[in-house]
């Protein structure tokens, strides 16, 4: 069914309200159309209103692919709800398509009968051609399955902002706020939050004070869009998504990369060690560099190195000199850091390596998400070279795991890898702001003048060696990448010592298992299957398992944030499980790790499409697997 706004009977009285639990909207347009802003604004409004939510941006790989092409489409998805949600949603309830290319790239995800809001101005023959479409979808009937709302948003916007004096391209640019206005009407949201934001961004107190028309016109467009939807009754009714029953407290929205930055800054404050962040830009990790470089007031040193090798090498140098050495990158950059990570293992220095995973192999799909670096960070070094590996499970969890990575690195004197991925790094969710005072101080292993010091003497409990920082009188010593003699740390080639030191390095990391939480089974305790997931798939997998259990299956779910060492009780859980199923966004890396560690048979659900799992897909796979007998 398609509504042509030109001939709708105006009927101001009818104001139906439909209550829905949760809604997924995707704003899609050209890179230039400001869809990210539109999405963020809608998100903030929903957050402030009190919905739970999750978002997922989708940037084009090119900086500015030619306008109107599919390569140039930029999109922003938000899932908001009156209940607790963990994913940005599977199928879309609403798709906003500002041009033909945006429609082509995204229509596949719109649910049957879903709302499709279209700016007719983006569907000229030229647009159709740029999008490489055979015919005009607005005419060829290909959209019959949806509730298509067409309007010439561009033209409507131009008219709306005329009086502000803004003209031409700049006037046209306000169309995203006109669109936002329409959405605000549809979901019955107040405009004030965005009006306020526009004043803060473009108002008299900003660098735009000379150009008051900018703020004015955008506000104008927003209101006009709202009124337009109201008066011409684009929709038969509003929808209402009630407040979610979230834990009480103060919230903010946070993305994974922001949360990583906050976590690192917290670790610095709690350990009394300045952050040295050595990094080389790479998608999707660069925002951590950008974020940290803004916080020099925390004493953070951000060093944009000549390459990833220098980035980690300088961080190791800092760790040697008493800094909280951190480096972050994505897959290709990790490849280049592996040799130096080995040096970190041999010299037993505290160091944090963040890997924001993206699609591989090689340059692969830089802007797409994947979980395919697990085995690389576990095993990608010469010799037996164990180090702890952690993985964040959601955007806000990046905060917790960054703090945890620092705690472990400093307490055990070891490099620690923190795995996140493009999806949680760029995705956002509400974050219940923690009481920073409640976060415990971190212990370090500083050696001090006067004590009897041996570079490789170990703490009886943690097996950590001491941290003797250059500048400390009396503790002068030498370390390096050659095998070390036990205790003294002198260079040693002797066979027994190498075996002993290898054992000590392993024992130290394995011992951390006593210092991390046990694995916890969600869902059916001893059901017909145990699903084991890790990292960024937590939201989709747990939601899918919940749905399956609701649907009568008996499935337990363990989600791992610690990949090395694994939780102490995991082996027992897996050995007792009827069957073990491991869904992951790679070809079976955790499956290899668990199978090899515990010697058990495992079924995998594996996908590498550059996107998160769909809950529906996981659920159906779980049904399929449980229906086929072992």
């Amino acid at each position: 069914m398609s509504i042509d706004v030109t001939n709708i009977p105006i009927n101001p009285n009818e104001k139906a309200h439909i209550d829905v639990d949760s809604v997924t909207i995707r704003f899609a347009g050209d890179s230039g159309d400001g869809m990210q802003i539109t999405g963020t604004q809608f998100t903030d409004a929903a957050a402030v209103f009190g919905n739970d939510l999750a978002t997922m941006p989708d940037f084009p790989a090119e900086i500015r692919a030619p306008a109107g092409t599919v390569a140039g489409v930029s999109a922003y998805q938000i899932h908001f709800s009156s209940e607790d949600i963990k994913t940005p949603g599977d199928d879309l309830n609403v798709l906003v398509a500002m041009n033909a290319a945006a429609l082509k790239a995204n229509i596949g995800d719109l649910e049957e009968g879903g709302i499709l809001l279209i700016d007719e101005a983006g569907f000229t023959d030229k647009d159709i051609e740029k999008a490489e479409m055979k015919s005009n979808p607005l005419e060829d009937g290909s959209l019959n399955g949806f509730r298509v709302i067409k309007a010439n948003i561009t033209e409507l916007t131009m008219n709306a902002v005329k009086e502000t004096g803004l003209k031409g391209k700049s006037a046209e640019l306000c169309k995203n706020f006109f669109t936002l206005g329409i959405m605000y009407w549809l979901y019955d949201r107040p405009l004030n939050h965005t009006l306020k934001w526009l004043d803060e961004k473009y108002g008299p107190k900003t660098k735009y004070k000379e150009k008051p028309e900018i703020a004015a016109s955008n506000k104008q467009a927003l209101t006009a869009g709202y009124n337009f939807a109201d008066t011409v009754e684009l929709f038969t009714s509003h929808y209402r998504v009630k407040k979610a029953a979230l834990p009480k407290g103060k919230y903010r929205k946070i993305s994974g990369n922001e949360a990583t930055v906050f976590g690192l800054l917290t670790a610095s404050q709690k350990s009394g060690r300045n952050i040295f962040y050595g990094s080389y830009p790479i998608t999707p990790a660069s925002d951590i560099l950008h974020g940290l470089s803004k916080h020099k007031n925390f004493g953070v040193i951000t060093f944009q190195a000549e390459d990833e090798i220098a980035a980690i090498a300088s961080a190791i140098g800092s760790a040697y000199a008493g800094g909280l050495g951190v480096t972050a990158t994505s897959g290709p950059g990790i490849c280049l850091k592996l040799e130096a990570m080995g040096l970190g293992v041999m010299t037993e220095l505290p160091l944090i390596i963040v890997d924001v995973q993206r699609g591989g192999p090689s340059t692969g799909l830089p802007t797409k998400t994947e979980q395919s670096d697990l085995l690389m960070v576990m095993f990608g070094r010469s010799g037996d070279s164990p180090l702890p590996v952690l993985a964040a499970r959601s955007p806000s969890d990046c905060f917790n795991m960054a703090v945890e990575a620092a705690r472990i690195a400093l307490k055990y004197m070891t490099p620690v890898v923190l795995l996140t991925d493009g999806y949680i790094a760029n995705g956002a969710e509400p974050w219940l702001i923690p009481d920073h005072a409640a976060i415990p101080k971190m212990t370090t292993n500083l050696a001090s003048t006067g004590e009897s010091f041996q570079a490789y003497a170990r703490d009886p409990v943690t097996n950590a060696r001491k941290w003797a920082i250059p500048g400390t009188p009396g503790l002068e010593h030498r370390i390096g990448g050659l095998e070390k003699a036990q205790n003294t740390g002198a260079v040693a080639y002797d066979p027994e010592n190498h075996q002993a030191m290898t054992n000590q390095r392993h024992a130290k990391i394995a011992g951390i298992a006593n210092d991390i939480p046990l694995a916890e089974v969600m869902g059916a305790k001893d059901g017909d299957a145990l699903v084991v997931s890790w990292g960024g798939t937590f939201g989709t997998v747990s939601t899918a398992v919940e749905e399956c259990n609701k649907a009568g299956l008996k499935i337990g779910h363990v989600h791992l944030q610690y990949l090395n060492p694994l939780p102490r009780n995991l082996g027992e859980l897996l050995n007792n499980a009827e069957r073990v199923i491991v869904p992951e966004l790679n070809m079976g890396q955790l499956r290899m790790l668990l199978g090899g560690t515990f010697g058990i048979k495992i079924q995998g659900i594996n996908q590498v499409r550059g996107k998160p799992f769909k809950v529906s897909y996981l659920a159906s796979e779980l049904h399929r697997i449980l229906e086929t007998q072992k």
Binding site: K243, L246, G249, G317, P470, P473
Partner: protein, 343 residues
């Protein structure tokens, strides 16, 4: 929240340091007769004269015979991985500015695998002192040719003779904008000491190339110019503000005509080019870096010594002002941006 113990200065031994304070107990593993020995003793002799507490010296090296150096110094030392010492030292110095950081490297370590870190440490004017042991060979891996080996070098990897054109560490450093660039030789301990002291005094990244002899794989490689009897006629000792004279009776001089340098015997008064290590563009230093044996005397001493802004200082300034203006607060951080309350 500085990472340097406050007691540094006070805790250092009151009585003046001596050479033996810097001798480490570790048995030295260089070949008998290796040029590295004299560099080691020279360094151990210079450090006590710098008025820096022993605990504030750090020696960072890569991999190679030369890079074993830190083990033989009784200071803080880090024997890192091949070619990465300049990058590691960058982290050390930026984190703990009170330290005096020395990088010990070889012609392969610095110019082959480590070339990229070498040039970036120099162009950033990172405040570390890079001592490059140039024996024009890969010693530790048993004698393959290096980026400073001459064309035609016969080595295990080039039985037919090498075909790569060599690099000049000095020209490279100047091309990378280095502010302090010098050359000395392992067989002239006094000169070496002076150059090390000048490097230590320089505020910023200093490069010192030490012509070093590998008795096993490239024995006498520098002999034609730095040999006891060759030296006077084949090396020119550069001194700032002094004419570039050389020869047994200093009867020779370097004469500059536009861009071409001509060695001339008994040049007229004032005809000889006067060395200017402060020349701003670095072009004079570069020109001198091009002089090579046998056409020219080999220049030794300081090629360039000009002030350049320090990365460290600028970085510290940004941090200090930021901290002064807005002291760190997690509370502020967490609550920044738009927030909302659920109650």
């Amino acid at each position: 929240m500085t990472t340097t113990p406050t007691n540094t200065a006070t805790a250092s031994p009151p009585e003046p340091l001596t050479r033996k304070d810097f001798a480490s107990p570790t048995a030295i593993r260089w070949c008998p007769g290796c040029g590295d020995y004299s560099i080691l003793t020279t360094m151990q002799g210079i450090l006590p004269t710098l008025g820096i507490p022993k605990e504030n010296f750090v020696f960072v090296s890569g991999i190679g015979c030369s890079s074993r150096f830190p083990y033989y110094m009784n200071t803080y030392g880090f024997h890192t991985i091949h070619g990465r010492a300049p990058a590691v030292s960058t982290g050390v110095k930026l984190t703990n500015p009170d330290l005096q950081v020395w990088v010990i490297t070889g012609d392969g370590d610095a110019l082959s695998i480590g070339g990229n870190h070498f040039i970036h440490a120099l162009r950033r004017n990172m405040d570390v002192k890079i001592i490059l042991f140039n024996n024009r060979i890969y010693g530790l891996t048993k004698g393959q040719y290096s980026p400073t080996s001459g064309v035609g070098t016969v080595s295990p990897s080039t039985p037919y003779g090498s075909v790569d054109l060599p690099l000049s560490p000095i020209s490279m450093a100047l091309g990378a904008e280095a502010g302090f660039v010098a050359r000395t030789s392992d067989n002239d301990v006094k000169h070496m000491g002076e150059v090390f002291a000048a490097a230590a005094a320089y505020k910023g990244a200093a490069l010192v190339e030490v012509l070093q002899n590998c008795v096993i794989f490239a024995d006498k490689i520098h002999e034609p110019y730095y040999g006891r009897n060759e030296r006077k006629d084949n090396m020119v000792y550069m001194k700032h503000g002094e004419p570039l004279r050389y020869g047994k009776e200093l009867e020779k001089g370097l004469v500059l005509d536009k861009m071409t340098m001509t060695p001339k015997t008994n040049p007229a008064e004032g005809e000889t080019l006067v060395h200017d290590e402060k020349e701003s563009s670095g072009a004079l230093a570069f020109l001198l870096s091009r002089l090579s044996h046998p056409e020219y005397p080999v220049p030794v001493g300081v090629f360039r010594n000009v002030e350049r802004p320090s990365y460290l200082t600028a970085m510290r300034h940004q941090i200090d002002t930021a901290q002064a203006k807005n002291p760190p607060s997690l509370d502020k951080l967490f609550n920044s941006g738009s927030t909302w309350t659920v109650d």
